[in-house]
Symmetry: C2
Subunit: 327 residues, 2 copies
Protein backbone atom coordinates (compact mmCIF):
# COMPACT_ATOMS: atom_id res chain seq x y z
CA UNK A 1 0.00 0.00 0.00
CA UNK A 2 1.30 3.43 -0.93
CA UNK A 3 1.03 6.21 1.60
CA UNK A 4 0.17 9.66 0.32
CA UNK A 5 3.71 10.77 1.25
CA UNK A 6 5.15 7.96 -0.90
CA UNK A 7 3.06 9.12 -3.81
CA UNK A 8 4.14 12.71 -3.36
CA UNK A 9 7.79 11.61 -3.40
CA UNK A 10 7.27 9.45 -6.45
CA UNK A 11 5.65 12.25 -8.38
CA UNK A 12 8.27 14.75 -7.26
CA UNK A 13 11.05 12.63 -8.71
CA UNK A 14 9.19 12.34 -12.02
CA UNK A 15 8.55 16.06 -12.22
CA UNK A 16 12.15 16.90 -11.33
CA UNK A 17 13.19 14.74 -14.28
CA UNK A 18 10.75 16.65 -16.48
CA UNK A 19 12.22 19.94 -15.22
CA UNK A 20 15.75 18.85 -16.10
CA UNK A 21 14.65 18.00 -19.62
CA UNK A 22 12.87 21.32 -19.99
CA UNK A 23 16.04 23.21 -19.13
CA UNK A 24 17.68 21.56 -22.15
CA UNK A 25 14.93 21.95 -24.71
CA UNK A 26 14.85 24.54 -27.52
CA UNK A 27 13.57 27.17 -27.89
CA UNK A 28 15.12 27.85 -24.52
CA UNK A 29 13.14 31.02 -23.85
CA UNK A 30 9.95 29.01 -24.14
CA UNK A 31 10.86 25.94 -22.10
CA UNK A 32 13.19 27.22 -19.41
CA UNK A 33 10.46 29.36 -17.80
CA UNK A 34 8.23 26.29 -17.76
CA UNK A 35 10.94 24.39 -15.90
CA UNK A 36 11.27 27.29 -13.49
CA UNK A 37 7.52 27.47 -12.91
CA UNK A 38 7.41 23.74 -12.14
CA UNK A 39 10.48 23.96 -9.93
CA UNK A 40 8.93 26.55 -7.60
CA UNK A 41 5.67 24.65 -7.69
CA UNK A 42 5.27 23.28 -4.20
CA UNK A 43 4.07 20.03 -2.69
CA UNK A 44 2.75 18.15 -5.73
CA UNK A 45 -0.57 17.60 -4.00
CA UNK A 46 -2.70 17.36 -7.14
CA UNK A 47 -0.48 14.95 -9.08
CA UNK A 48 -0.17 12.82 -5.93
CA UNK A 49 -3.98 12.74 -5.91
CA UNK A 50 -3.88 11.30 -9.43
CA UNK A 51 -1.58 8.51 -8.24
CA UNK A 52 -3.78 8.02 -5.18
CA UNK A 53 -6.88 7.60 -7.36
CA UNK A 54 -4.95 5.12 -9.48
CA UNK A 55 -3.52 3.22 -6.50
CA UNK A 56 -6.99 2.28 -5.32
CA UNK A 57 -7.29 -0.05 -8.30
CA UNK A 58 -3.75 -0.94 -9.34
CA UNK A 59 -0.48 -1.09 -7.43
CA UNK A 60 1.65 -0.08 -10.43
CA UNK A 61 1.16 3.61 -9.86
CA UNK A 62 4.08 4.51 -12.15
CA UNK A 63 1.67 3.96 -15.03
CA UNK A 64 -0.27 7.03 -13.95
CA UNK A 65 2.76 9.33 -13.90
CA UNK A 66 2.01 10.94 -17.29
CA UNK A 67 -1.49 11.76 -16.06
CA UNK A 68 -0.09 13.15 -12.81
CA UNK A 69 2.37 15.26 -14.76
CA UNK A 70 -0.47 16.59 -16.91
CA UNK A 71 -2.33 17.81 -13.83
CA UNK A 72 0.78 19.45 -12.37
CA UNK A 73 1.52 21.17 -15.69
CA UNK A 74 -2.02 22.44 -15.92
CA UNK A 75 -2.13 23.64 -12.31
CA UNK A 76 1.13 25.53 -12.66
CA UNK A 77 -0.01 27.00 -15.98
CA UNK A 78 -2.99 28.54 -14.20
CA UNK A 79 -0.73 29.96 -11.47
CA UNK A 80 1.61 31.38 -14.08
CA UNK A 81 -1.15 33.28 -15.90
CA UNK A 82 -3.02 34.17 -12.69
CA UNK A 83 0.14 35.84 -11.39
CA UNK A 84 0.20 38.14 -14.43
CA UNK A 85 -3.48 38.95 -14.02
CA UNK A 86 -3.18 39.54 -10.28
CA UNK A 87 0.12 41.41 -10.52
CA UNK A 88 1.55 38.90 -8.01
CA UNK A 89 5.32 39.39 -8.06
CA UNK A 90 6.18 36.51 -5.74
CA UNK A 91 5.20 32.86 -5.73
CA UNK A 92 6.40 30.68 -2.83
CA UNK A 93 9.28 33.04 -1.98
CA UNK A 94 10.47 33.14 -5.59
CA UNK A 95 9.86 35.71 -8.26
CA UNK A 96 6.79 34.83 -10.29
CA UNK A 97 7.52 33.91 -13.90
CA UNK A 98 6.36 37.20 -15.43
CA UNK A 99 8.53 39.09 -12.94
CA UNK A 100 11.62 36.92 -13.40
CA UNK A 101 11.37 36.85 -17.20
CA UNK A 102 8.76 39.11 -18.79
CA UNK A 103 5.04 39.27 -19.32
CA UNK A 104 5.37 38.06 -22.91
CA UNK A 105 7.42 35.10 -21.78
CA UNK A 106 4.87 34.29 -19.10
CA UNK A 107 2.00 34.44 -21.59
CA UNK A 108 3.62 32.21 -24.21
CA UNK A 109 5.28 29.76 -21.81
CA UNK A 110 1.94 29.43 -20.03
CA UNK A 111 0.21 28.71 -23.32
CA UNK A 112 2.76 26.04 -24.14
CA UNK A 113 2.39 24.59 -20.65
CA UNK A 114 -1.34 24.11 -21.01
CA UNK A 115 -0.82 22.35 -24.35
CA UNK A 116 1.94 20.23 -22.79
CA UNK A 117 -0.56 19.16 -20.15
CA UNK A 118 -2.67 17.60 -22.91
CA UNK A 119 0.43 16.06 -24.47
CA UNK A 120 1.37 14.48 -21.14
CA UNK A 121 -2.13 13.10 -20.75
CA UNK A 122 -1.95 11.68 -24.27
CA UNK A 123 1.05 9.58 -23.20
CA UNK A 124 -1.23 7.50 -21.01
CA UNK A 125 -2.06 4.21 -22.65
CA UNK A 126 -5.20 3.66 -20.66
CA UNK A 127 -8.23 2.42 -22.58
CA UNK A 128 -10.21 5.17 -20.91
CA UNK A 129 -8.09 7.88 -22.53
CA UNK A 130 -10.94 9.56 -24.49
CA UNK A 131 -13.03 9.85 -21.30
CA UNK A 132 -9.97 11.13 -19.44
CA UNK A 133 -9.27 13.84 -22.01
CA UNK A 134 -12.92 14.90 -21.94
CA UNK A 135 -12.88 15.17 -18.15
CA UNK A 136 -9.60 17.02 -18.12
CA UNK A 137 -10.61 19.48 -20.82
CA UNK A 138 -14.01 20.17 -19.26
CA UNK A 139 -12.30 20.78 -15.91
CA UNK A 140 -9.71 23.07 -17.47
CA UNK A 141 -12.45 25.26 -18.92
CA UNK A 142 -14.24 25.33 -15.57
CA UNK A 143 -11.05 26.55 -13.88
CA UNK A 144 -10.92 29.44 -16.39
CA UNK A 145 -14.55 30.23 -15.61
CA UNK A 146 -13.76 30.21 -11.89
CA UNK A 147 -10.88 32.63 -12.41
CA UNK A 148 -13.18 34.93 -14.40
CA UNK A 149 -15.87 34.88 -11.69
CA UNK A 150 -13.16 35.65 -9.11
CA UNK A 151 -12.01 38.67 -11.13
CA UNK A 152 -15.63 39.76 -11.66
CA UNK A 153 -16.22 39.62 -7.91
CA UNK A 154 -13.33 42.02 -7.27
CA UNK A 155 -15.32 44.88 -8.77
CA UNK A 156 -18.77 43.77 -7.62
CA UNK A 157 -20.27 44.73 -4.27
CA UNK A 158 -23.25 42.37 -4.30
CA UNK A 159 -21.74 38.88 -4.38
CA UNK A 160 -24.05 36.35 -2.75
CA UNK A 161 -22.78 33.30 -0.86
CA UNK A 162 -24.07 30.76 -3.43
CA UNK A 163 -22.23 32.62 -6.17
CA UNK A 164 -19.09 32.57 -4.04
CA UNK A 165 -19.41 28.84 -3.44
CA UNK A 166 -19.85 28.27 -7.16
CA UNK A 167 -16.73 30.33 -7.85
CA UNK A 168 -14.47 28.41 -5.44
CA UNK A 169 -15.90 25.15 -6.72
CA UNK A 170 -14.84 26.09 -10.26
CA UNK A 171 -11.58 27.79 -9.42
CA UNK A 172 -10.24 25.30 -6.88
CA UNK A 173 -12.37 22.26 -6.13
CA UNK A 174 -12.99 20.80 -9.61
CA UNK A 175 -9.28 20.32 -10.25
CA UNK A 176 -8.83 18.37 -7.00
CA UNK A 177 -11.90 16.30 -7.87
CA UNK A 178 -10.65 15.76 -11.42
CA UNK A 179 -7.23 14.65 -10.19
CA UNK A 180 -8.66 11.76 -8.16
CA UNK A 181 -11.11 10.75 -10.88
CA UNK A 182 -8.49 10.85 -13.64
CA UNK A 183 -6.30 8.51 -11.63
CA UNK A 184 -9.20 6.13 -11.15
CA UNK A 185 -10.15 6.22 -14.84
CA UNK A 186 -6.53 5.59 -15.82
CA UNK A 187 -6.76 2.36 -13.81
CA UNK A 188 -10.01 1.43 -15.55
CA UNK A 189 -12.18 1.98 -12.49
CA UNK A 190 -15.93 1.85 -13.01
CA UNK A 191 -17.59 5.18 -13.86
CA UNK A 192 -19.56 4.91 -10.60
CA UNK A 193 -16.57 4.71 -8.25
CA UNK A 194 -14.73 7.30 -10.34
CA UNK A 195 -17.67 9.66 -9.82
CA UNK A 196 -17.69 9.00 -6.08
CA UNK A 197 -14.01 9.92 -5.96
CA UNK A 198 -14.80 13.07 -7.92
CA UNK A 199 -17.51 14.08 -5.44
CA UNK A 200 -15.24 13.25 -2.49
CA UNK A 201 -12.56 15.52 -3.94
CA UNK A 202 -15.06 18.24 -4.79
CA UNK A 203 -16.39 18.53 -1.24
CA UNK A 204 -12.91 18.35 0.21
CA UNK A 205 -11.83 21.08 -2.21
CA UNK A 206 -14.58 23.43 -1.14
CA UNK A 207 -13.86 22.75 2.55
CA UNK A 208 -10.19 23.42 1.81
CA UNK A 209 -10.88 26.81 0.22
CA UNK A 210 -13.27 27.87 3.00
CA UNK A 211 -10.62 26.93 5.53
CA UNK A 212 -8.13 29.00 3.55
CA UNK A 213 -10.44 31.98 3.99
CA UNK A 214 -10.83 31.25 7.69
CA UNK A 215 -7.14 30.80 8.44
CA UNK A 216 -6.25 34.11 6.84
CA UNK A 217 -8.00 35.78 9.76
CA UNK A 218 -8.17 33.23 12.56
CA UNK A 219 -5.05 31.07 12.21
CA UNK A 220 -2.47 30.70 14.94
CA UNK A 221 0.00 33.38 13.82
CA UNK A 222 2.99 31.26 14.92
CA UNK A 223 2.00 28.39 12.65
CA UNK A 224 0.72 30.52 9.74
CA UNK A 225 3.23 31.13 6.97
CA UNK A 226 2.28 34.70 6.21
CA UNK A 227 0.80 37.69 8.07
CA UNK A 228 -2.78 37.31 9.23
CA UNK A 229 -5.46 39.54 7.75
CA UNK A 230 -4.07 39.89 4.22
CA UNK A 231 -7.52 39.25 2.73
CA UNK A 232 -9.05 41.94 4.96
CA UNK A 233 -6.46 44.52 3.93
CA UNK A 234 -7.01 43.66 0.24
CA UNK A 235 -10.84 43.74 0.53
CA UNK A 236 -10.89 40.21 -0.79
CA UNK A 237 -14.44 38.91 -1.09
CA UNK A 238 -13.98 35.86 1.11
CA UNK A 239 -16.66 33.66 2.61
CA UNK A 240 -16.11 35.53 5.88
CA UNK A 241 -16.68 38.98 4.43
CA UNK A 242 -19.65 37.94 2.29
CA UNK A 243 -21.27 36.11 5.20
CA UNK A 244 -20.70 39.11 7.48
CA UNK A 245 -22.35 41.42 4.95
CA UNK A 246 -25.20 38.93 4.54
CA UNK A 247 -26.16 38.60 8.18
CA UNK A 248 -25.32 42.00 9.63
CA UNK A 249 -27.75 44.87 10.17
CA UNK A 250 -27.59 48.18 8.35
CA UNK A 251 -25.28 49.80 10.87
CA UNK A 252 -22.63 47.05 10.83
CA UNK A 253 -22.91 46.78 7.06
CA UNK A 254 -22.20 50.52 6.76
CA UNK A 255 -19.27 50.16 9.16
CA UNK A 256 -17.73 47.37 7.04
CA UNK A 257 -18.32 49.22 3.76
CA UNK A 258 -16.68 52.30 5.22
CA UNK A 259 -13.51 50.30 5.84
CA UNK A 260 -13.72 48.72 2.38
CA UNK A 261 -13.95 52.14 0.73
CA UNK A 262 -11.11 53.73 2.71
CA UNK A 263 -8.12 54.49 0.52
CA UNK A 264 -5.88 55.61 3.33
CA UNK A 265 -5.71 53.44 6.41
CA UNK A 266 -3.49 51.67 8.90
CA UNK A 267 -3.48 47.96 7.99
CA UNK A 268 -3.52 46.59 11.53
CA UNK A 269 -6.25 49.02 12.51
CA UNK A 270 -8.39 47.80 9.60
CA UNK A 271 -7.69 44.15 10.44
CA UNK A 272 -8.67 44.60 14.05
CA UNK A 273 -11.80 46.61 13.20
CA UNK A 274 -13.09 44.00 10.73
CA UNK A 275 -12.02 41.05 12.90
CA UNK A 276 -13.91 42.69 15.76
CA UNK A 277 -17.08 42.71 13.69
CA UNK A 278 -16.48 39.10 12.61
CA UNK A 279 -16.28 38.21 16.32
CA UNK A 280 -19.49 40.07 17.13
CA UNK A 281 -21.29 38.28 14.29
CA UNK A 282 -19.88 34.83 15.11
CA UNK A 283 -18.36 34.54 11.66
CA UNK A 284 -15.65 32.14 12.83
CA UNK A 285 -18.19 29.63 14.11
CA UNK A 286 -20.44 30.00 11.07
CA UNK A 287 -17.50 29.38 8.75
CA UNK A 288 -16.31 26.40 10.79
CA UNK A 289 -19.79 24.88 10.56
CA UNK A 290 -19.79 25.36 6.83
CA UNK A 291 -16.35 23.77 6.49
CA UNK A 292 -17.51 20.87 8.60
CA UNK A 293 -20.57 20.33 6.43
CA UNK A 294 -18.44 19.93 3.32
CA UNK A 295 -15.93 17.82 5.21
CA UNK A 296 -18.68 15.53 6.49
CA UNK A 297 -20.16 15.30 3.02
CA UNK A 298 -16.76 14.11 1.82
CA UNK A 299 -16.56 11.54 4.61
CA UNK A 300 -20.07 10.27 3.84
CA UNK A 301 -19.03 9.66 0.26
CA UNK A 302 -15.84 8.02 1.51
CA UNK A 303 -17.90 5.57 3.56
CA UNK A 304 -20.00 4.66 0.54
CA UNK A 305 -17.06 3.89 -1.72
CA UNK A 306 -17.20 0.08 -2.10
CA UNK A 307 -13.53 -0.66 -1.43
CA UNK A 308 -11.81 -2.28 1.55
CA UNK A 309 -10.86 0.05 4.38
CA UNK A 310 -7.16 -0.73 4.06
CA UNK A 311 -7.35 0.19 0.38
CA UNK A 312 -9.17 3.43 1.06
CA UNK A 313 -6.89 4.63 3.83
CA UNK A 314 -4.98 6.94 1.49
CA UNK A 315 -8.13 8.97 0.94
CA UNK A 316 -8.34 9.63 4.66
CA UNK A 317 -4.68 10.65 4.71
CA UNK A 318 -5.53 13.05 1.91
CA UNK A 319 -8.48 14.51 3.81
CA UNK A 320 -6.29 15.01 6.88
CA UNK A 321 -3.49 16.55 4.87
CA UNK A 322 -5.84 18.96 3.17
CA UNK A 323 -7.74 19.90 6.31
CA UNK A 324 -4.73 20.22 8.60
CA UNK A 325 -3.06 22.42 6.07
CA UNK A 326 0.44 21.09 6.71
CA UNK A 327 1.26 21.53 3.03
Amino acid sequence: MHTLKDLQSLVSVAIDKEINQLYQTEPRHLYEPIGYALAVGGKRLRPAMVLLGYSLFDEQVEKALPVATAIELFHNFTLLHDDIMDGAEMRRNNLSVYKKYSENVAILSGDAMSIMAYNALLKSNSEALPAMIRLFSQTALEVCEGQQFDMDFEIRTDVAIPEYLKMIKLKTAVLLACSLKLGALAANASEKIADQLYDFGLNLGIAFQLQDDLLDVFADQDKFGKKLGGDIVANKKTFLLLKALEISGEETKAFIHEWIDKKDFDASEKISAITGKYNELGIKEITERSIDEYYQAALNIFNEIPLADETKVGLLQLANLIMNRDH
Copy 2:
Protein backbone atom coordinates in the same frame (compact mmCIF):
# COMPACT_ATOMS: atom_id res chain seq x y z
CA MET B 1 -18.33 17.98 -55.20
CA HIS B 2 -17.78 20.86 -52.83
CA THR B 3 -15.84 23.88 -54.03
CA LEU B 4 -13.51 25.54 -51.56
CA LYS B 5 -15.86 28.56 -51.54
CA ASP B 6 -18.76 26.29 -50.56
CA LEU B 7 -16.72 24.92 -47.70
CA GLN B 8 -15.77 28.39 -46.51
CA SER B 9 -19.45 29.39 -46.51
CA LEU B 10 -20.47 26.25 -44.67
CA VAL B 11 -17.88 26.77 -41.98
CA SER B 12 -18.71 30.47 -41.68
CA VAL B 13 -22.33 29.68 -40.89
CA ALA B 14 -21.28 27.17 -38.23
CA ILE B 15 -18.87 29.59 -36.62
CA ASP B 16 -21.41 32.42 -36.67
CA LYS B 17 -23.74 30.12 -34.73
CA GLU B 18 -20.95 29.44 -32.26
CA ILE B 19 -20.37 33.20 -31.90
CA ASN B 20 -24.04 33.82 -31.13
CA GLN B 21 -23.95 31.18 -28.41
CA LEU B 22 -20.79 32.64 -26.93
CA TYR B 23 -22.43 36.04 -26.57
CA GLN B 24 -25.02 34.41 -24.33
CA THR B 25 -22.77 32.27 -22.15
CA GLU B 26 -21.72 33.08 -18.59
CA PRO B 27 -19.31 34.28 -17.33
CA ARG B 28 -19.91 36.95 -19.94
CA HIS B 29 -16.52 38.61 -19.46
CA LEU B 30 -14.86 35.33 -20.39
CA TYR B 31 -16.97 34.29 -23.39
CA GLU B 32 -17.99 37.55 -25.04
CA PRO B 33 -14.36 38.44 -25.96
CA ILE B 34 -14.03 34.97 -27.50
CA GLY B 35 -17.10 35.66 -29.63
CA TYR B 36 -15.62 39.00 -30.60
CA ALA B 37 -12.26 37.45 -31.50
CA LEU B 38 -13.97 34.87 -33.71
CA ALA B 39 -16.22 37.51 -35.28
CA VAL B 40 -13.30 39.61 -36.52
CA GLY B 41 -11.53 36.46 -37.59
CA GLY B 42 -11.42 36.64 -41.36
CA LYS B 43 -11.91 34.19 -44.16
CA ARG B 44 -12.10 30.87 -42.34
CA LEU B 45 -9.34 29.45 -44.52
CA ARG B 46 -8.01 26.93 -42.01
CA PRO B 47 -11.36 25.43 -40.98
CA ALA B 48 -12.34 25.26 -44.66
CA MET B 49 -9.14 23.26 -45.16
CA VAL B 50 -10.36 20.79 -42.53
CA LEU B 51 -13.59 20.33 -44.47
CA LEU B 52 -11.62 20.07 -47.69
CA GLY B 53 -9.45 17.30 -46.26
CA TYR B 54 -12.60 15.53 -45.11
CA SER B 55 -14.44 16.03 -48.43
CA LEU B 56 -11.81 14.02 -50.29
CA PHE B 57 -13.10 10.89 -48.56
CA ASP B 58 -16.69 11.58 -47.56
CA GLU B 59 -19.32 13.91 -48.98
CA GLN B 60 -20.98 14.54 -45.62
CA VAL B 61 -18.63 17.34 -44.68
CA GLU B 62 -20.93 18.57 -41.89
CA LYS B 63 -19.50 15.76 -39.78
CA ALA B 64 -16.15 17.55 -39.75
CA LEU B 65 -17.55 20.87 -38.50
CA PRO B 66 -16.49 20.33 -34.86
CA VAL B 67 -12.95 19.67 -36.05
CA ALA B 68 -13.05 22.75 -38.29
CA THR B 69 -14.31 24.83 -35.36
CA ALA B 70 -11.45 23.52 -33.21
CA ILE B 71 -8.89 24.75 -35.73
CA GLU B 72 -10.55 28.15 -36.02
CA LEU B 73 -10.69 28.50 -32.23
CA PHE B 74 -7.04 27.57 -31.91
CA HIS B 75 -5.91 29.88 -34.73
CA ASN B 76 -7.77 32.84 -33.26
CA PHE B 77 -6.43 32.04 -29.78
CA THR B 78 -2.90 32.41 -31.13
CA LEU B 79 -3.78 35.74 -32.77
CA LEU B 80 -5.35 36.94 -29.55
CA HIS B 81 -2.27 36.24 -27.45
CA ASP B 82 0.16 37.27 -30.22
CA ASP B 83 -1.53 40.69 -30.36
CA ILE B 84 -0.76 41.23 -26.66
CA MET B 85 2.85 40.13 -27.13
CA ASP B 86 3.32 42.25 -30.27
CA GLY B 87 1.43 45.26 -28.91
CA ALA B 88 -0.78 45.09 -32.03
CA GLU B 89 -3.74 47.35 -31.33
CA MET B 90 -5.66 46.54 -34.51
CA ARG B 91 -6.70 43.27 -36.11
CA ARG B 92 -8.49 43.41 -39.49
CA ASN B 93 -9.63 47.00 -38.96
CA ASN B 94 -11.03 46.22 -35.51
CA LEU B 95 -9.50 46.79 -32.12
CA SER B 96 -7.58 43.74 -30.99
CA VAL B 97 -9.08 41.95 -27.99
CA TYR B 98 -6.60 43.24 -25.42
CA LYS B 99 -7.20 46.79 -26.66
CA LYS B 100 -11.00 46.52 -26.76
CA TYR B 101 -11.25 44.81 -23.38
CA SER B 102 -8.07 44.56 -21.34
CA GLU B 103 -4.89 42.57 -21.21
CA ASN B 104 -6.20 40.37 -18.40
CA VAL B 105 -9.34 39.62 -20.38
CA ALA B 106 -7.27 38.78 -23.43
CA ILE B 107 -5.02 36.43 -21.45
CA LEU B 108 -7.84 34.51 -19.78
CA SER B 109 -10.22 34.45 -22.75
CA GLY B 110 -7.35 33.24 -24.89
CA ASP B 111 -6.62 30.48 -22.40
CA ALA B 112 -10.25 29.41 -22.44
CA MET B 113 -10.27 29.54 -26.24
CA SER B 114 -7.37 27.12 -26.54
CA ILE B 115 -9.11 24.70 -24.16
CA MET B 116 -12.36 25.12 -26.11
CA ALA B 117 -10.46 24.11 -29.23
CA TYR B 118 -9.78 20.74 -27.61
CA ASN B 119 -13.39 20.52 -26.45
CA ALA B 120 -14.60 21.14 -30.00
CA LEU B 121 -12.28 18.47 -31.32
CA LEU B 122 -13.56 16.06 -28.69
CA LYS B 123 -17.06 16.41 -30.16
CA SER B 124 -15.93 14.56 -33.26
CA ASN B 125 -17.08 10.98 -33.20
CA SER B 126 -14.45 9.76 -35.60
CA GLU B 127 -12.74 6.51 -34.72
CA ALA B 128 -9.45 8.27 -35.36
CA LEU B 129 -10.07 10.75 -32.52
CA PRO B 130 -7.01 9.78 -30.41
CA ALA B 131 -4.70 10.22 -33.43
CA MET B 132 -6.44 13.51 -34.24
CA ILE B 133 -5.96 14.87 -30.74
CA ARG B 134 -2.29 13.84 -30.80
CA LEU B 135 -1.74 15.62 -34.13
CA PHE B 136 -3.60 18.71 -33.01
CA SER B 137 -1.80 18.97 -29.68
CA GLN B 138 1.62 18.38 -31.23
CA THR B 139 0.88 21.08 -33.81
CA ALA B 140 -0.35 23.51 -31.17
CA LEU B 141 2.93 23.18 -29.29
CA GLU B 142 4.89 23.68 -32.50
CA VAL B 143 3.00 26.91 -33.17
CA CYS B 144 4.06 28.17 -29.71
CA GLU B 145 7.65 27.23 -30.53
CA GLY B 146 7.40 29.12 -33.81
CA GLN B 147 6.11 32.23 -32.05
CA GLN B 148 9.01 31.98 -29.56
CA PHE B 149 11.61 31.66 -32.36
CA ASP B 150 9.99 34.66 -34.07
CA MET B 151 10.33 36.73 -30.89
CA ASP B 152 13.91 35.50 -30.39
CA PHE B 153 14.77 36.60 -33.93
CA GLU B 154 13.63 40.16 -33.20
CA ILE B 155 16.60 40.71 -30.93
CA ARG B 156 19.10 38.55 -32.83
CA THR B 157 21.27 39.86 -35.66
CA ASP B 158 22.60 36.53 -36.91
CA VAL B 159 19.53 34.62 -38.05
CA ALA B 160 20.40 32.18 -40.83
CA ILE B 161 17.97 31.28 -43.64
CA PRO B 162 17.48 27.66 -42.48
CA GLU B 163 16.52 28.92 -39.02
CA TYR B 164 14.09 31.34 -40.60
CA LEU B 165 12.52 28.60 -42.69
CA LYS B 166 12.15 26.44 -39.59
CA MET B 167 10.47 29.32 -37.79
CA ILE B 168 7.86 29.98 -40.48
CA LYS B 169 7.26 26.27 -40.79
CA LEU B 170 6.42 26.10 -37.09
CA LYS B 171 4.61 29.39 -36.77
CA THR B 172 2.50 29.19 -39.93
CA ALA B 173 2.84 26.10 -42.08
CA VAL B 174 2.22 23.28 -39.60
CA LEU B 175 -1.27 24.55 -38.76
CA LEU B 176 -2.25 24.61 -42.45
CA ALA B 177 -0.80 21.13 -42.85
CA CYS B 178 -2.55 19.92 -39.70
CA SER B 179 -5.89 21.31 -40.89
CA LEU B 180 -5.90 19.21 -44.05
CA LYS B 181 -4.65 16.11 -42.28
CA LEU B 182 -7.15 16.38 -39.42
CA GLY B 183 -9.98 16.54 -41.94
CA ALA B 184 -8.65 13.45 -43.69
CA LEU B 185 -8.23 11.55 -40.41
CA ALA B 186 -11.75 12.52 -39.35
CA ALA B 187 -12.97 10.77 -42.52
CA ASN B 188 -10.88 7.69 -41.70
CA ALA B 189 -8.39 8.26 -44.51
CA SER B 190 -5.32 6.03 -44.53
CA GLU B 191 -2.32 7.36 -42.63
CA LYS B 192 -0.39 7.48 -45.92
CA ILE B 193 -2.77 9.82 -47.77
CA ALA B 194 -3.26 11.87 -44.61
CA ASP B 195 0.51 12.35 -44.46
CA GLN B 196 0.62 13.36 -48.12
CA LEU B 197 -2.02 15.99 -47.43
CA TYR B 198 0.03 17.18 -44.48
CA ASP B 199 3.14 17.57 -46.62
CA PHE B 200 1.14 19.27 -49.38
CA GLY B 201 -0.17 21.80 -46.82
CA LEU B 202 3.25 22.24 -45.26
CA ASN B 203 4.96 23.20 -48.53
CA LEU B 204 2.07 25.43 -49.48
CA GLY B 205 2.24 27.09 -46.07
CA ILE B 206 5.94 27.89 -46.41
CA ALA B 207 5.40 29.23 -49.95
CA PHE B 208 2.53 31.32 -48.58
CA GLN B 209 4.66 32.90 -45.86
CA LEU B 210 7.58 33.60 -48.23
CA GLN B 211 5.14 35.26 -50.59
CA ASP B 212 3.84 37.31 -47.67
CA ASP B 213 7.39 38.56 -47.14
CA LEU B 214 7.80 39.30 -50.84
CA LEU B 215 4.52 41.16 -51.27
CA ASP B 216 5.26 43.47 -48.36
CA VAL B 217 7.97 45.01 -50.56
CA PHE B 218 7.12 44.13 -54.16
CA ALA B 219 3.33 43.94 -54.35
CA ASP B 220 1.27 46.11 -56.69
CA GLN B 221 0.40 48.93 -54.29
CA ASP B 222 -3.09 49.31 -55.80
CA LYS B 223 -3.99 45.70 -54.99
CA PHE B 224 -2.14 45.50 -51.66
CA GLY B 225 -4.30 46.12 -48.60
CA LYS B 226 -1.73 48.06 -46.60
CA LYS B 227 1.25 50.30 -47.26
CA LEU B 228 4.25 48.65 -48.85
CA GLY B 229 7.49 48.36 -46.92
CA GLY B 230 6.06 47.93 -43.44
CA ASP B 231 8.49 45.07 -42.72
CA ILE B 232 11.44 47.22 -43.83
CA VAL B 233 10.43 50.09 -41.56
CA ALA B 234 10.01 47.68 -38.63
CA ASN B 235 13.35 45.89 -39.31
CA LYS B 236 11.41 42.65 -39.55
CA LYS B 237 13.73 39.72 -40.21
CA THR B 238 12.04 38.52 -43.36
CA PHE B 239 13.37 36.09 -45.92
CA LEU B 240 14.27 39.10 -48.08
CA LEU B 241 16.34 40.84 -45.44
CA LEU B 242 18.07 37.68 -44.26
CA LYS B 243 18.87 36.62 -47.82
CA ALA B 244 20.21 40.11 -48.62
CA LEU B 245 22.49 39.98 -45.59
CA GLU B 246 23.58 36.46 -46.53
CA ILE B 247 24.63 37.19 -50.10
CA SER B 248 25.85 40.77 -49.94
CA GLY B 249 29.45 41.92 -49.57
CA GLU B 250 30.80 43.77 -46.57
CA GLU B 251 29.94 47.20 -47.93
CA THR B 252 26.30 46.48 -48.70
CA LYS B 253 25.97 44.61 -45.42
CA ALA B 254 27.23 47.66 -43.56
CA PHE B 255 24.82 49.86 -45.54
CA ILE B 256 21.85 47.69 -44.54
CA HIS B 257 22.91 47.46 -40.89
CA GLU B 258 23.26 51.23 -40.79
CA TRP B 259 19.62 51.59 -41.79
CA ILE B 260 18.58 48.90 -39.30
CA ASP B 261 20.32 50.71 -36.46
CA LYS B 262 18.97 54.18 -37.28
CA LYS B 263 16.56 55.40 -34.64
CA ASP B 264 15.55 58.54 -36.47
CA PHE B 265 14.68 58.20 -40.13
CA ASP B 266 12.18 59.03 -42.84
CA ALA B 267 10.17 55.86 -43.52
CA SER B 268 9.91 56.22 -47.30
CA GLU B 269 13.60 57.06 -47.51
CA LYS B 270 14.42 53.86 -45.61
CA ILE B 271 12.07 51.81 -47.76
CA SER B 272 13.57 53.09 -50.97
CA ALA B 273 17.16 52.66 -49.74
CA ILE B 274 16.62 49.03 -48.72
CA THR B 275 14.45 48.21 -51.73
CA GLY B 276 17.23 49.64 -53.91
CA LYS B 277 19.70 47.21 -52.38
CA TYR B 278 17.22 44.34 -52.80
CA ASN B 279 17.01 45.25 -56.50
CA GLU B 280 20.80 45.35 -56.86
CA LEU B 281 21.06 41.95 -55.21
CA GLY B 282 18.21 40.38 -57.20
CA ILE B 283 16.34 39.53 -54.01
CA LYS B 284 12.95 39.57 -55.71
CA GLU B 285 13.98 36.88 -58.17
CA ILE B 286 15.72 34.79 -55.53
CA THR B 287 12.62 34.89 -53.33
CA GLU B 288 10.33 34.06 -56.25
CA ARG B 289 12.49 31.05 -57.06
CA SER B 290 12.29 29.90 -53.48
CA ILE B 291 8.50 30.32 -53.40
CA ASP B 292 8.25 28.39 -56.62
CA GLU B 293 10.34 25.53 -55.22
CA TYR B 294 7.95 25.07 -52.30
CA TYR B 295 4.95 25.51 -54.58
CA GLN B 296 6.28 22.90 -57.01
CA ALA B 297 7.01 20.55 -54.13
CA ALA B 298 3.36 20.91 -53.11
CA LEU B 299 2.21 20.19 -56.68
CA ASN B 300 4.45 17.14 -56.90
CA ILE B 301 2.84 15.77 -53.77
CA PHE B 302 -0.56 16.64 -55.19
CA ASN B 303 0.18 14.57 -58.26
CA GLU B 304 1.17 11.59 -56.15
CA ILE B 305 -2.01 11.58 -54.08
CA PRO B 306 -3.87 8.48 -55.29
CA LEU B 307 -7.29 10.04 -55.76
CA ALA B 308 -9.23 10.89 -58.93
CA ASP B 309 -8.52 14.29 -60.44
CA GLU B 310 -12.11 15.46 -60.04
CA THR B 311 -11.91 14.57 -56.36
CA LYS B 312 -8.63 16.38 -55.85
CA VAL B 313 -9.64 19.57 -57.62
CA GLY B 314 -10.38 21.35 -54.33
CA LEU B 315 -6.71 21.06 -53.40
CA LEU B 316 -5.76 22.98 -56.54
CA GLN B 317 -8.35 25.63 -55.71
CA LEU B 318 -6.73 25.87 -52.31
CA ALA B 319 -3.24 26.24 -53.79
CA ASN B 320 -4.50 28.99 -56.11
CA LEU B 321 -6.34 30.77 -53.33
CA ILE B 322 -3.30 30.71 -51.08
CA MET B 323 -0.82 31.72 -53.78
CA ASN B 324 -2.97 34.43 -55.37
CA ARG B 325 -3.56 35.90 -51.98
CA ASP B 326 -7.14 36.93 -52.67
CA HIS B 327 -8.06 36.10 -49.07
